[in-house]
Amino acid sequence: MLEGVIFGICALGAVVAGITVFRVDSMARATFALLASFLFAAVPILLLGLSYLGILVVLMMVMEMLIMAVFMVMYMMNPAGLMPMKMVHNNKASIGIAVAVFVMLAAGVLLTPWPAAVTAAKTAAATTAMGTDADPTLALGMDLMGPHMLVMIVIGMVLFATMVAVVVLATDRGRYERFGDDLRRRSPDDPVRGGLGR
């Protein structure tokens, strides 16, 4: 009963905060409305008994959205996102896209054959196999990627390599700018001096 009430409040809160993102006129407020929506969404994860994942969502979303706020303010065209601005554009198409995505996701919720009784058995099997007590985080992990762990690890490495590559490609200063054409400069020539006294 109490769980149902908490879930209801958070579900409603997440939707209302999500709508607020498009109703406010400031980049900062939109960011924090989106953050609030994510935090509301973290509570149902806690209700599922996935305490580690739930708190991790809070931690990651706060950090991520704050960095995002800086970038969103920075990349807005007119005076740098500092001024009041409209949060919607391309209205008609975006309404269509939003409705289509909602219908798809809602259909997914209704059409997915949720393993009601199987889950409990599987959880028990997974946890006894790992020799620990019934830890829902472990069970979820086994369920999500048990047989595909190798694939997931490879994907993780590929993602990381992509991030490094993108940063390397995006920066306009490589090692030749920093250490000279023959890479012989002892200390790098950087616009901002770092803390290591190089």
Binding site: F32, S51, I55
Partner: protein
């Protein structure tokens, strides 16, 4: 919520407040000493400052985002109060979560949101510069900080703070993992934007994120900062200094004594060291502290596999 839980919460908040007051008073004493004025009056300085700020009127700048700014100043002390929920006082935490270390980290990261809201909300260039400085500092300290927290968790094989404290029966984790301990203390200073990591509120940018704050808003922000530093010191005790373990006295006495000692060291270090700019600290953090903490985590993992701890 049960009755004893409420009492525990009240006691925890009172103790946190007392520790925060002690932190503020001790830094006032150190300031008085270095400027050559009598230090005795400094012990009441936080109290007098509180009274002064309480009766002072709020200033309002045009175009300020008052809502975000107010949320920010309230969020900061609240983050510290929520962070201490998992810290055991002797044997008793207010709520001993199985993922207490992650909880502490999540609550302390709320300071990012709080400071940025305050800096942005004041609609002042200096406020925004200070807010962005704090986020840059956050990106610098956060990864080594997380590795330091994880290392303590790996050492005890648990993320429950009381488990980590109990695991240090024979030897403190500060001895097993000195790098993680030092990094934790550094990041404690950094996330509570205390000196030497106070550039986000520096005099060079007219007070930075707090440039436009006055009255009760400024009081809340400063309270939040001291409470965060006190929470960091209190957390370092169960993580690295054996929690409430010690001879003669009961656990909670040792817990408080150790916390006060850590606080004295942190405030003293902040008073002596020159300010660390965030772009300098970023290079130090990513090129020196991050590899060191990873090696430290690896070493501790090997200790655990070998059964040495």
């Amino acid at each position: 919520m049960t009755e004893p839980m409420l009492w525990k919460m009240l006691l925890g908040l009172i103790l946190l407040g007392a520790l925060g007051y002690a932190t503020a008073a001790w830094s006032a004493v150190l300031r008085a000493k270095s400027s050559g004025t009598p230090a005795v009056a400094s012990w009441s300085y936080p109290g007098r400052e509180t009274a002064r700020l309480l009766v002072r009127q709020r200033t309002a700048s045009p175009g300020a985002d008052t809502m975000l700014s107010r949320i920010g100043v309230v969020l900061l002390p609240m983050a510290a109060m929520m962070a201490i929920l998992v810290i055991p006082l002797g044997t008793n935490a207010i709520t001993d979560l199985s993922v207490g270390v992650v909880w502490f980290n999540a609550m302390e990261v709320l300071a990012w949101a709080a400071v940025w809201m305050v800096g942005w909300g004041s609609n002042s260039v200096w406020g925004l510069v200070g807010a962005n400085r704090f986020l840059a500092q956050g990106l610098a300290y956060e990864l080594p900080h997380m590795f330091a927290l994880i290392t303590a968790g790996v050492g005890a094989g648990s993320l429950r703070v009381s488990d980590i404290a109990d695991h240090q029966g024979h030897l403190w984790f500060a001895v097993y993992m000195p790098v993680a301990f030092v990094v934790f203390l550094l990041s404690g200073l950094a996330f509570s934007f205390s000196p030497p990591f106070a550039q986000a509120f520096g005099a060079d940018i007219a007070g930075g994120a707090a440039a436009q704050l006055s009255g009760v808003d400024r009081l809340l922000l400063r309270t939040g900062r001291y409470l965060l530093l006190a929470a960091a010191a209190a957390m370092s005790v169960p993580l690295f200094l054996g929690g409430g373990a010690g001879p003669l006295f009961p656990g909670w006495v040792w817990m408080l004594l150790k916390t006060l000692a850590v606080l004295a060291v942190l405030v003293g270090a902040g008073h002596r060291l020159p300010g660390v700019r965030m772009e300098r600290f970023t290079e130090i953090s990513w090129l020196v502290l991050l590899p060191l903490t990873i090696v430290q985590a690896l070493a501790v993992s090997i200790f655990v596999l070998l059964g040495w701890m």
